[in-house]
Amino acid sequence: MKLFHLKIALVLLASTLLFSCTDEVNATYTFRTMMPIYLEMKDVRTKSLAPIPAQEIENPGKIYIYNNYLLINEPSKGIHIYDNKNPANPINLSFIPIEGNVDLAINSNILYADNYVDLLAFDISNIQNIRLVKRVEDVFTHLYQHSTGKIITFKDTVLTIDSPSWEYDGMWTVRPGMSLLANMAKASQSYGTGGSMARFTLMDGHLFAVDQNTLRVFDVESPAEPKFLKPIDLGWGIETIFPFDQKLFIGSNRGLHIYDASNPAAPKRIAIYEHVLSCDPVVVNEDYAFVTLRSGNFCVNGVNELHVLDIKDPYQPKLLKAYPMLNPHGLGLAENYLYVAEGKHGLKSFNASDVLTIDKNQLEFLQSMKSVDLIPGPKSLIVIGPDGVCQYDYSNPAKLRKLSCIQVSNPIEVS
């Protein structure tokens, strides 16, 4: 019996060696990318623009303060409306769904918002009954894909494909972190009422809108009847616009352009202050322009500095002083107080009454307040960062006091 079993054992061993099963191998590559989605404007124009009940904010984009209201753009999706009578308790009222919207500005109870290539005007005199009053078609025509005549928009998607070979990241995919055009959320990140990273701005009955290389001028003397006047070529790398005293201060990643807008229908460039390749938000008062330069995703080879320019003669802006900073993003000026959002490093406040000793007059450096932009509003200092949209009491500029934060489900990544 034993021998028999031993023989069986040997047979089993032999069969193991001679016959065997085949393994299955499968290689996949999973990646995050922006999928292009093609749209026809005629379909976009049929979508309802009526406000819907309050929605949670996913990605905060441009922020605008208007009277007791806080309007927060959700890039490419629409505009959230908050009742901000009490900044310690902002109340989410409603949401206007506007596809492709990345910017807004308000003048005389008329809200201007872009809808891909069109400019929309809404009457917001009764916040409970917001209505579209005008659509100006085919204004932001750079968004058209000329080969197809369609609008291209991008959707953040995770794809998995069978991989014929080992894939290296970033070589051929559109990466959300790197593509300015593809990622509207990053491109329109955090701006304000004349906040330092604005792209729409209002002055003297005119609406000015900048994109990467063009300034577009609209006549809004009749607020409910915006008229597109003309596009002005600005070169390239345009990022921000700040209006002041019949002048437009336009930040690009190569320098600051100053335009004379005393005739707002025909702004004329009067000066350019050039600097190294950097991203470039700016705020100004009568005498000085404050410009932050930072290194980062799009701002390769940049430096991290605060530049103070003398603009008493706007034809000849002069650099007065450059202060080293950590990674300054947006900034805000409230009388003599300057607030700088230092990205992941936090928030700094300065007494800037003597522009030559700003660094010696730092009031606070709040390292826990990571921020990308801020807006000194009439009731509160609004700070945009990874915590969402927060408001601070800055009646004592040397001691900021947190009032509230509007949580967002997809916080800004500070890089």
Partner: protein, 213 residues
């Protein structure tokens, strides 16, 4: 993947019930050395190569009814690209007279872990190995020793073991890269921009010799 999870959960529940019923009964321990035989497909080619890999297995169980034992199974499988430590449950059943050789049947199933494989991480990427649920039925014989209370066993069976090799590229954002547990549904772990994954299902014929006591 879902199907294997179901098998696993069923086995766990069934075995727990049986073990609870087995109180003051006999125990069985089995130690085995084995060979896993298979054919590997060479990645990104149509060619195959034979493999013969070393395996070790340990079982300890309680008798739940005459000639049936249920218990814990542990092991070590040395596959070409990964070393797996299977941890699971096992069943052994015997047919035959009390004295003399018996026919033996068994089943091991559980999760093949990759504790022996290191996770590597740089600023830009992470690489790691993942295991998977394994399933190993077999048939054999048990030949008692002339002296002492032990027996020699030999068996042949089939072992199914999935495993993956992963290399992910970090997203360079505030979110730290986090390798999620195997049961998570998300296709891309947090903090990663992309992921290369090579999944292998090892189908092996397994021949084992061992001792039983």
């Amino acid at each position: 993947m879902r199907f294997s999870k179901l098998i696993f959960m069923f086995l766990i529940s069934w075995c727990s019930v049986q073990l609870a019923a087995a109180q003051e009964k006999a125990t069985l321990t089995q130690l085995e050395l084995g060979l896993l035989s298979g054919k590997s497909k060479i990645l990104w080619s149509e060619e195959f190569e034979n493999r013969l890999d070393f395996s070790f297995s340990a079982f300890h169980g309680k008798e739940i009814k005459p000639n049936h034992y249920l218990g814990i199974h542990l092991g070590y499988d040395n596959y070409p690209n990964v070393r797996i430590l299977p941890i699971g449950l096992g069943w052994r059943g015997f047919i035959g007279d009390d004295i003399g050789s018996k026919l033996m049947g068994g089943l091991n199933a559980g999760f093949g872990t990759t504790f022996l494989e290191k996770r590597e991480r740089t600023d830009w990427s992470s690489t790691w190995q993942e295991g998977g649920v394994y399933f190993n039925p077999f048939l054999g014989v048990s030949m008692p020793a002339k002296k002492g209370n032990w027996a020699l066993t030999s068996s042949i069976g089939y072992k199914w073991q999935p495993s993956s090799y992963l290399e992910g590229s970090h997203s360079q954002s505030e979110t730290p890269p986090k390798i999620h547990p195997f049961w998570t549904r998300a296709s891309l772990p947090e903090g990663f921009n992309s992921l290369n994954k090579v999944s292998t299902q090892y189908h092996s014929l397994i021949f084992q010799v061992g001792i039983l006591f």
